[in-house]
């Protein structure tokens, strides 16, 4: 029993080190000074000083999503904790494992409206998977180890540990992770074999099947992605992916139909609508995916694999639910498929693929790059082409550029695509890119951004400069909050209420002021050389790509419409489905 006496702050740092933590993203303040003092005295954990606590959580998310390890955040009490809330909510929605240590006023001051006091456990309860307030130093090591267990097991998520300052100073006993076992939290990871057999039988008997995979495959680890790829190839069936799941199945593969959902491809959404068997692997039938619920894939039998039982039958009633880690379940499915010598119905499949290929022939992502202005799609298609084969990671902010990035960038591997899917947090991408670059200092990390999102967390350039992180910021600048403008055009009679940004800064000078390199490009002929220059320039580079201000994201399933009622780019105006008043009220 390797137990030792030390202060609460020492215990925290020791526990983090024993949990394998290499890096912490944080910002000091009064209530965490003992912790920062301990950080100062050691060398095993590196601290990255962000410029605002929100940036710390997004950076930790980027780190976590690209490495599969939990991201760790350290912030002070009161405003430090409240600034972290958006990032926590983001991590909660996208199931990212985060440990967020927050300082708290001394226990005897809690509830007294003390300086920089906030009810952190109260505020963060609905946006975390779990949270703790450590009132007794003897609970410290158990709590930290338990927090890691909770954050990383089952469906991952953020966990907050609130640490009163007097508890950080108090002396207690340290216990290593091995001595600990959780009392109540033990999520099911193995799927029920009988149900899996039933599901495989249904899959094998399908005539118009489709796989629909999500972020759960990425969260399960690279092995799950391999198994998914193996299983889908064994069947020869088409597969589509959610925004969060991109990269789990190679985008360059012929069986991949592209992303589905509101801005998904024509072939993916039509396949979902017309299929007879749908296999949902680690996705959650989110409203961006389903469109109108009562018209969602009306004739299909649905199989749903998810580690979180509360995801099953939440929005869509399914026929075969399988609770378990997708990695384990897919492994069993592959085994069963082999042992039962399952064969797909080749003639039915041929007809189905013919149908799908007709939809593909619509070429729903085509665009024409002509004239003097750069099409955002073109800029991203070139970015994809010119970075192909490189060890590349992409993050995004939220809005039009995010959807174009999802459509035009190709991901053949998991963990290379970091985006805020569930919460839709503008300002996510830059700090997230920072977190990725910390994990992979020699890789190409690009934050695909819009000028409005970029300005939400642009203070983090200062962090990027401090740690010499060669992050590339690729701004598609249309001088609008593009997605807001698009919806105002389509749904609010073109009344562009507050979606135009006047007095934008000179982004090139801006990054230069911080100490980085800026490149502006407004000429379609110079897009390639700009991208090459961006990659070849050492250190942080910002590209201010001035793009078409009026461009909209297509295809689009308008709010309240069904999957097979998509708006396409070349569709004549007024030809799309009517948006009902019910649809209008959807986000």
């Amino acid at each position: 029993m390797a137990k030792q006496e030390m202060t609460g702050a020492e215990i925290v740092i020791k526990a983090l080190a024993d949990q394998g933590v290499e890096v912490i993203f944080g910002y000091p303040g009064g209530a965490v000074l003992p912790l920062y003092d301990e950080l100062f005295k050691q060398n095993s954990i590196r601290h990255i000083l962000v410029r605002q606590e929100g940036g710390a959580v997004h950076a930790a998310e980027g780190y976590a999503r690209s490495t599969g390890k939990p991201g760790v955040v350290l912030v002070t009490s009161g405003p430090g904790a409240t600034n972290a809330v958006t990032g926590l909510a983001d991590a909660m929605m996208d199931s990212i494992p985060i440990i967020c240590l927050t300082g708290q006023v001394a226990t005897h001051l809690i509830g007294n409206d003390a300086f920089q006091e906030a009810d952190t456990v109260g505020i963060t309860r609905p946006v975390t998977k779990h949270n703790y307030l450590v009132k007794d130093v003897e609970d410290m090591s158990r709590t930290v180890h338990e927090a890691f267990h909770v954050a990383t097991n089952g469906r991952p998520g953020p966990v907050v540990i609130d640490l009163p300052k007097d508890v950080q100073f108090a002396t207690g006993t340290y216990a290593p992770p091995a001595l600990f076992q959780h009392k109540s939290y033990a999520p099911q990871v193995k799927g029920d074999l009988k149900t899996i057999k039933e599901a495989v039988k249904m899959i094998a008997g399908a005539k118009k099947p489709v796989f629909y995979s999500g972020g759960g495959v990425i969260n399960s680890g690279p092995k799950a992605s391999k198994l998914l790829t193996q299983f889908v190839r064994m069947t020869g069936y088409p597969i589509t992916s959610t925004l969060m799941g991109l990269g789990a199945y190679p985008a360059s593969d012929d069986q991949f139909l592209g992303m589905l959902g509101m801005h998904g491809t024509y072939q993916a959404n039509n396949a979902m609508h017309d299929c007879d068997v749908m296999v949902c692997v680690g996705a959650r039938f989110d409203d961006r995916i389903t469109g109108r619920l009562d018209a969602f894939s009306p004739n299909s039998k649905k199989i749903h694999i998810d580690i979180d039982p509360s995801s099953i039958n939440k929005n869509i009633q399914v026929d075969i639910p399988i609770v378990g880690d997708v990695g384990h379940v897919l492994e069993d499915m592959v085994k069963v498929w082999k042992s039962e010598v399952c064969k797909p119905d080749t003639s039915a499949l041929e007809t189905w693929w013919a149908e799908i290929n007709d939809w593909k022939a619509k070429d729903c992502l085509k665009f024409t790059q002509e004239g003097e202005t750069i099409k955002p799609q073109y800029a991203l298609a070139r970015l994809n082409e010119l970075t192909k084969g490189k060890d590349r990671y992409f993050t995004t902010e939220v809005g039009q550029h995010q959807m174009w990035a999802a459509q035009y960038l190709e991901f053949d591997e998991p963990n290379r695509w970091m985006t805020s899917g569930g919460l839709g947090t503008m300002g996510y991408g830059l700090p997230a890119a920072m977190g990725v670059q910390i994990a992979y200092p020699d890789s190409l990390v690009v934050d695909v951004s819009g000028e409005a999102s970029f300005m939400m967390n642009m203070q983090e350039i200062s962090t990027i400069i401090q740690y010499r992180l060669p992050v590339k910021i690729f701004i598609l600048n249309n001088e609008y909050m593009g997605m807001v403008r698009q919806w105002q055009e389509l749904l609010h009679g073109g009344r562009y209420s507050e979606s135009y940004m006047e007095s934008l800064p000179d982004f090139v000078k801006l990054i230069e002021a911080f100490g980085g390199t800026g490149i502006r490009c407004s000429d379609p002929a110079k897009v390639d050389e700009t991208i090459i220059q961006m990659m070849e320039t050492d250190g942080p580079v910002l590209v201010d790509m001035l793009v078409d201000k009026q461009e909209n994201v297509f295809p689009m399933v308008p709010s309240g419409a069904a999957h097979n009622e998509m708006l396409l780019a070349d569709q004549e105006e007024g030809k799309g489905p009517e948006v009902t008043s019910e649809g209008m009220s959807l986000v």
Partner: protein, 174 residues
Amino acid sequence: MIQKTEIHRHTIAVLVNNEFGVLSRVVGLFSGRGYNIESLTVAKVDEDDNLSRITIVTTGTLMVIEQIKAQLERLVPVHRIADLTLDGPAVEREMALVKVESTGEKRVEALRIADIFRARPVDTTASSFVFEVTGVRGKVKEFINLMGDLGRTEVCRTGIVAVRRGHDTIHKSN
């Protein structure tokens, strides 16, 4: 796919760690996701393992009830969930303390009704009684209604506690 809209009432028992903030997690889940709470009771039931039992009566469509249980199960300090409505017959009881102010013939009538309901007077003055009544919610409600006719009342109810009939316990169910 087909959303059944019929509303059902379910009694759910939840075994939780008796720890800081656990009740607010449960209540916060209900308010945050827009679920109903008709009644909620909570008390420590296991000294050795430091467990509390929460009994919640809630209403919703079957899909919502299923969600409520899955969401409760997801809370880290939750050990066990039992849907006492679904798992078969359960004994459900509620206790109420009912103060009734009345004099003369009405006072005698109050005692007579209390006797029928097996309610016990636990406090008395020349012009008032406090009755303790226990039973299923319908019985308690009826008793309160009748007392209301006999004078000014003050009512205090515990909410429902429930346990499954037969030998299976919450530790062995599911």
